[in-house]
Symmetry: C2
Subunit: 344 residues, 2 copies
């Protein structure tokens, strides 16, 4: 029985539940406007480890473990881990999966990973392929900067369009069947992103690289479901930043979408305050993930917001192909999250 | 309704069909024992492009397009592309998805990608989340060597345990509903791998890094389903190579599995002949993918083999973390493929 709605959207008849969630961030993120919302703060950038890569892996591992615990579970009870990160060979997710010993499907969607993992996880839970699974991701400023741009030790000046990679992680437990009644946050739809490329080639302008993909996925979702901005309390994007958010509004308007700007909540614009000197805003897989788990899910659970279109946005930046003259395409996957009164 | 069988296996009640498949390989693979089986041969290592990375991307794009065409479809009819490759940021898959404009979930499972994409694809098709999707992967000797080991120009001598990364790609179309009756190859089960690490740290001994994960997944699958080697015509592994295959037999025997060695078909041992000077055998995502599409699926379709446990195996090798003193874990995902008489 096809669950497809329109060209790219899937409706989930069982409305899988998000039973628990956990967020961890670094000190700079803690000092931002949402600092008190996150579950844990890293003691420092090394997180008790000897390398930034290992610090990032441990952060993800802690988020997954905490997420399981908040659902009253051990990690051994989790049937599947869907996760990825920004690092080459997704080493943070891979080594975390090794240490946690949860069966693992590794994903790469750059900064779109939180909704890639959540989309796939929600479909797998809805179909009965997993009773409980965790979708997760993470990023770390110090690992991302040296892999994608330049070693921190160089002290390069940042351009005005640059975004600050969030040091943070988020993990959500998706459950199906009767367990979904135990929560008040349900996943009702997924929309799969296409890779869209309008020719941006500047590694310090990720917002512009991602905005066209964000526009494409929002347009597809609204066309597939017949909905508009009026049907959502928020349309939350991952990490477009100030420049990318402005571009998205422009692109959506060009596509004939009646944008309600006050509903367009970009995690990258929100996570830091302008006084924190992050230029265009936050970015990284951990940006959408920590804001989802620190702010959006608790608000949905409480019923302060009732329905959101949540869409992490990724720039498929490769230093190798950029040097070969390629541009940087983007991708964005969307899920609809709803408040629903449950048993508790 | 849970479709889970035992701890890690999923049974697919609708038995999604594999409607079409396509394989492309390089000249060296063409000169191996299965050369005549593949659909297309690259003209040379650059495949008409200006970089090896671009050559690899174009190969994957061609495999996906050819796979759609063999099913009587345009790529625009394909609802989802599940793909990944060995390169940082999975650039081959990402740029192929951009050019093909198929909605895309990017995966990273190193050389396990063919069964990761096929597992996720089969579950999504079974559940009605996609009517037709393509699962695909690729690898290229020239891109993998320079990213993971050393530039080819160095002319490094290869160790006896080294494997030769296959230049090749494979793509399969997974369909659900009535369309599945149009083929004779069905996917009946998936088993999700765990990340297993027995401490191998040598980038030239991938077989040893992957064998423990292969053993873990086979043991889980047999325990979950109550089956043994007797229930399969072949237990096909991705790219363990000669050393890894021997280790797998030893590990399975230690775990009390009655191994039928003649049924243990390793794509890495098969794709090249010993005269081709590849040392321990073939490797790379393209190894399992091209052998699946060039040899195993046609044999299943013809009924020459009736049921196989197919499991691509990945070594989660990262040059960065290896230099930081980390070891190389492995992961292996399995699917059961069966011949079934269809309408045609």
């Amino acid at each position: 029985m096809s669950k497809r709605v329109g060209a790219r959207t899937v409706a989930l008849p069982s409305r899988p539940g998000i039973l628990s969630w956990a967020s961890i961030v670094g000190r700079k993120e803690y000092e931002g406007p949402y600092g008190e919302r996150f579950d844990q703060i890293l003691p420092d950038e090394l997180n008790g480890e000897s390398s930034f890569e290992s610090a990032e892996r441990k952060m993800l591992e802690t988020a997954v473990t905490l997420c399981a615990r908040k659902a009253g579970r051990e990690t051994a009870d989790v049937q599947m881990l869907l996760a990825g990160d920004l690092l080459n060979q997704i080493v943070s997710a891979g080594y975390a999966a090794r240490n946690l010993q949860i069966p693992f499907y590794g994903l790469y969607g750059a900064c779109s990973t939180m909704t890639e993992s959540l989309s796939l996880g929600a479909m797998l839970a809805d179909g009965g392929y997993a009773d409980r699974l965790i979708a997760a991701t993470c990023s770390h400023f110090c690992t991302a900067e040296r892999q994608y741009r330049a070693p921190l030790e160089l002290g390069n000046q940042r351009t005005p369009t640059a975004q600050w990679t969030v040091t943070g992680s988020g993990a959500v437990m998706v459950v199906s069947g009767p367990a979904a009644q135990r929560t008040r946050v349900r996943v009702t739809h997924t929309t799969c992103g296409r890779v869209i490329d309008l020719g941006i080639a500047d590694a310090n302008n990720m917002g512009a690289a991602m905005a066209p993909a964000a526009c494409d996925t929002i347009c597809a979702h609204l066309a597939d479901t017949g909905r508009s901005f009026d049907d959502f309390d928020l349309v939350a994007t991952g990490d477009l930043g100030r420049l990318g958010r402005d571009l998205l509004i422009e692109l959506l308007t060009q596509h004939g979408i009646a944008v309600k700007e006050q509903k367009l909540f970009d995690c990258g614009c929100e996570i830091f305050s302008p006084r924190q000197d992050v230029h265009a805003g936050g970015s990284g897989c951990g940006c959408a993930a920590s804001m989802l788990c620190g702010y959006l899910l608790p608000e949905l659970y409480a019923g302060h917001i009732r329905r959101i279109l949540f869409m992490a946005t990724g720039a498929l930046l490769s230093p190798t192909t950029t040097m070969q003259g390629e541009s940087i395409p983007g991708v964005a996957h969307a899920v609809v999250l709803e408040h629903e009164e449950g048993e508790r």
